[in-house]
């Protein structure tokens, strides 16, 4: 399967988005998207891990025995996640404290293992890196959009700057408690998927 590098990189953004198309990686998408800052950090960490893990797995794809391949993927991904976690802790300690366990949980993000198994184990290193970057950015795009909606409606701020005058500061806007609750993330993700599939009808599964 020789895919063009352009479509390898761009398709995961909207056409084959890992969150909205395949409903992967929902857990962090729900848990850390109350603030845009967290979402950006999470997106960056996941994209870096995903691109590097795809690259490393692609490089050694012909050496990996089939029967233990998942374990080898996990070892590579886990090492990268630990590096990402240590970098976050060293340079952004506050952010790292807010994301807490979710950085470590990047290893369980099914997008990473999914791309390793479905793409990196069958394609060359350049394409695999592009695929990792594309999927990471597609995932990050959803994270940032969901977090923007939730932060503006739930807290009246964007990246920590007040954009809507909330009643707490004598403004007019009463924050929507639903948006800060985890259930709110479900509704936001659901509406985004709904809009995307109404727009690109070829993504609708046949029921």
């Amino acid at each position: 399967m020789a895919a063009s590098s352009r479509s390898t990189f761009l398709d995961p953004l909207l056409e084959k988005n890992p969150v909205m198309g395949q409903i992967l990686g929902i857990c962090p998408a729900l848990a850390i998207t109350t603030l845009v800052e967290n979402a950006v950090a999470m997106a960056a960490a996941t994209t870096a891990v995903l691109a590097l893990s795809n690259l490393s797995i692609s490089l050694i794809r012909k050496l990996i025995p089939d029967s233990v391949r998942i374990i080898i993927y996990l070892v590579i991904v886990a090492s990268l996640v630990i590096v990402a976690d240590q970098i976050l802790r060293a340079f952004f300690p506050d952010l790292s404290a807010q994301l807490s366990v979710y950085v470590g949980l990047i290893i369980t993000n099914c997008i990473i293992l999914g791309r390793a198994e479905a793409f990196a184990s069958q394609n060359g290193p350049v394409l695999s890196t592009l695929d990792g970057l594309g999927n990471g950015l597609g995932y990050g795009l959803v994270l940032v959009v969901v977090a923007s909606i939730r932060e503006v409606l739930g807290s009246g701020t964007f990246l920590g700057h007040p954009v809507l005058a909330t009643t707490a500061t004598d403004g007019w806007f009463e924050t929507l408690g639903l948006m800060t609750a985890p259930a709110g993330a479900f509704f936001v993700v659901m509406v985004l998927i709904w809009i995307l599939r109404a727009w690109k009808t070829d993504q609708v599964e046949e029921g």
């Binding site: 009463e174 929507l176 408690g177 948006m179 609750a181 509704f187 046949e206």
Partner: protein
């Protein structure tokens, strides 16, 4: 999507894109949508296979509207009455526009002398909520009908009135409208419109309001629109439980002369509405009887297994059915023909579990003193599962019978 040329040539797939509306057509669709409110539909199904029946969604909606009248009248009167009672107990009135308008019309909202005044005052609180909810629901339905190029269905008034009737009188109108719009989008339109919904839009709207603006739906201060510190008798039955019941009079709780949401206070009015719905055969008596049985069993069970320490265990069932939203839920929410179970034995089970579940939430959950709405919303999700069991059991039984022959 698989590409098969033979299939594509013999019959082109029906695509929504073939139906492009021009702007004049869109405007006509809007005006026709409102015209159909007044005159009824002129469109007649063209295909050969459809059921001839006197019952349509429009008629069911009309039956529901009639059933809601007692609740509406009792609720409006009681809301004004509670303000009068609170004022005569020395509580200051709120300076909101219904109260100002009452004074402007020459009626004293605080004087206990006029029952007509109480009625008008309650209506002034109720109508903005109901009309606001109707406009919110109708706008959402209109947008979806336009985008999907479907005919605008009836029924928004039922949703709006039912939702307004389970709200406390002091609910801000914009909050109610926002919640109603959310309920109609997420509870109804997302599943494809009237008759296809998984959960009751009103219950979902209530849950949205409860999560988003909890101060609107919780606490003691919401039930009577007056100011100041509430005296003990104004409190709903709270965590202190049965000792407070002693201050309440069962008859007035049954008639609906206690503080509460508009339509929920009068159990009598709810029973009248339920009776009318049963008489019109719009709702299933199996669900209603099951709901009663479930509450009776659960109350008896809690009373028998009372470990002490929680006085809510001991509330007998004749109190359960007159307090909070039980009667309203029994009449208008659990019986909803779309979101409940659809098989006859399934209706028994659905009603039974729902009735027990309401009592469970009330007794065991200290943050949900009136568990009706949240319990019924939860039950909505189980209705398809209950139906699945009974349909599968029926299939098994028939298969065994045929194999035996």
């Amino acid at each position: 999507m698989s590409e098969s040329p033979e299939k594509g040539q013999s019959r082109p797939p029906a695509s929504r894109k073939t139906l492009r509306l021009t702007w004049p057509q869109a405007v006509r669709a809007v005006s026709r949508a409102f015209e159909s409110l007044r005159t009824g539909s002129r469109e007649i199904t063209a295909g050969p296979a459809h059921v001839r029946d006197a019952v349509s969604i429009r008629r069911i909606a009309a039956v529901y509207l009639i059933a809601l009248i007692p609740c509406l009248l009792a609720g409006a009167y009681n809301t004004g009455l509670q303000v009068q009672l609170a004022a005569s107990a020395g509580l200051p009135l709120l300076d909101d526009w219904p109260t100002r308008l009452m004074s402007g019309m020459g009626m004293d909202p605080a004087s206990a002398a006029t029952s007509a005044g109480a009625f008008v005052h309650g209506l002034l609180y109720f109508l903005p909520l109901a009309v606001g909810c109707y406009l919110a629901a109708r706008s959402v339905e209109l947008i979806f009908a336009l985008v999907r190029r479907e005919q605008l269905g009836p029924g928004s008034w039922v949703l709006a009135l039912v939702f307004a009737l389970i709200l406390p009188p002091a609910t801000p109108v914009w909050q109610a409208m926002l919640a109603m719009a959310f309920g109609v989008v997420m509870g109804k339109e997302v599943f494809g419109g009237t008759g296809r919904n998984l959960v009751h839009p009103v219950l979902l709207a209530w849950a949205f309001l409860f999560v988003t603006y909890p101060e609107t739906l919780s606490g003691d201060a919401i039930w009577v629109p007056v100011d100041g510190e509430r005296p003990a008798w104004l409190h709903q039955v709270s965590a202190s439980g049965s000792p407070v019941l002693a201050d309440l009079d069962w008859t007035s709780a049954f008639l609906g002369l206690t503080p509460g949401a508009f339509g929920e206070t009068s159990a009598l009015a709810c029973f009248l509405g339920a009776g009318w719905l049963l008489l019109a055969r719009v709702v299933s008596w199996r669900v209603v009887l099951g709901f009663f049985a479930g509450s009776i069993l659960a109350s008896a069970g809690f009373a028998a297994a009372d470990p002490g320490g929680n006085p809510l265990f001991g509330i007998p069932v004749h109190w359960q059915i007159v307090l909070g939203g039980w009667a309203f839920g029994m009449a208008f929410l659990v019986t909803d023909p779309v979101t409940g179970a659809h098989t006859n034995p399934g209706r028994w089970v659905y009603g039974l579990i729902a009735g027990a579940f309401v009592v469970f939430v009330r007794v065991l959950n200290p943050t949900q003193l009136d568990g009706t709405a949240i319990a019924l919303l939860f039950m909505n999700l189980f209705a398809p599962l209950i139906d699945y069991w009974f349909v599968a059991a029926n299939v098994r039984r028939r298969r065994a019978r045929n194999a035996a022959q």
